[in-house]
Symmetry: C2
């Protein structure tokens, strides 16, 4: 155990996700010998995130104003909403440059084992957005795992009666991957979703 302040910092860092005791110690000693201006910038960045970042009132993406940058963008179409689990999924999809509609961030996926049911997600808010009648297609882009699939199935059942097109992102072989190393479920999905060339 170190003295006072350095041990306090190691303890605080050790509470962050993915940082074990060894990493916490390594970072603390890095901080100790780092430029004071850099450390101040980090400390301020931490505080500013809590003060300035909030969730978009429309799509629940992270935002610094009442609405996020994507919801404010007049060049995007209101006719397609892409439903994702987390704000980081928005970034991942934006990076493809393929999608010009709006998003809806659920804040997670249905996971009964962790006690997360439909009421813990922003599903009611999604239904309210769909009531307006502008939306023609709903893309379900939840993760391709058990929880994500369950959430997509649940949403599809809820939304189907509203008469809009509901789609799910394609599952299949990752581009640049090796067929031999694909797991059997992914390979099975790739067969199921095969397309004429």
């Amino acid at each position: 155990m170190y003295e006072g302040a350095i041990q306090d910092l190691i303890d605080e860092l050790g509470r962050l996700p993915g940082i074990g005791p060894k990493s916490a110690q390594r970072i603390a000693f890095h901080i100790l010998s780092a430029d004071p201006a850099d450390v101040t910038r980090l400390a301020q960045a931490l505080q500013r995130v809590k003060e300035q970042v909030r969730f978009c009132s429309v799509c629940f993406n992270v935002a610094e104003q009442e609405q996020c940058r994507i919801c404010r963008d007049p060049r995007r179409t209101d006719e397609i909403i892409c439903v994702v689990e987390e704000p980081k999924d928005v970034i991942a999809i934006e990076r493809t440059g393929e999608f010009r509609g709006r998003y809806h961030v659920l804040g997670g996926a249905i996971n009964p084992l962790e006690g997360i049911g439909p009421d813990n997600l922003r599903i009611r808010e999604l239904m309210e957005r769909l009531q307006a009648g502008t939306v023609k297609e709903l893309i379900l882009a939840t993760d391709p795992n058990t929880e994500g699939e369950a959430t997509a199935t649940y949403l599809a059942l809820m939304v189907k009666p509203m008469g809009l097109t509901v789609t799910r992102l394609a599952s299949g072989l990752p581009v640049g991957g090796d067929l031999e190393y694909a797991d059997e479920i992914t390979l099975g999905r790739a067969f199921e979703g095969r397309r004429a060339v």
Copy 2:
């Protein structure tokens, strides 16, 4: 790319050692949903380390006063000094409970590839401590790697003429380890250092 504050935090976190872009993003979102009091505590711990922690004027371990806890302890003997590379090595040795002498923290090891020579380490300060004549044994506990060995050899040559006992920590098989998985250098050292039972 996220908006403003959250991206700033991801950038700042990504500069820390051992934190890649994915971890930085994960930690930033953890901070976003964390208790504000926890975040304030972390930010303050960062600042306090820079303000309060300094290096002990005697042994260069981390300290909150002019001298560190170990140098201030009157129950420890001044006759043995254990030379280590970093403050974290002091903690590792203290944890064994085997050593009741003082320490000297070099601040690294000789590493010509990174431009670290004897003048960049606290070797002059060590020599000054030894001049007093109180020290009877110097334990060289630098790391058992190339740089640590080079540093130990260099120190042994410097100190030998002063007529005190110079020792090096034993190399050998880690306790609880498996002989079959030991690398050949470690196993060779274990043979060299074999003891009568």
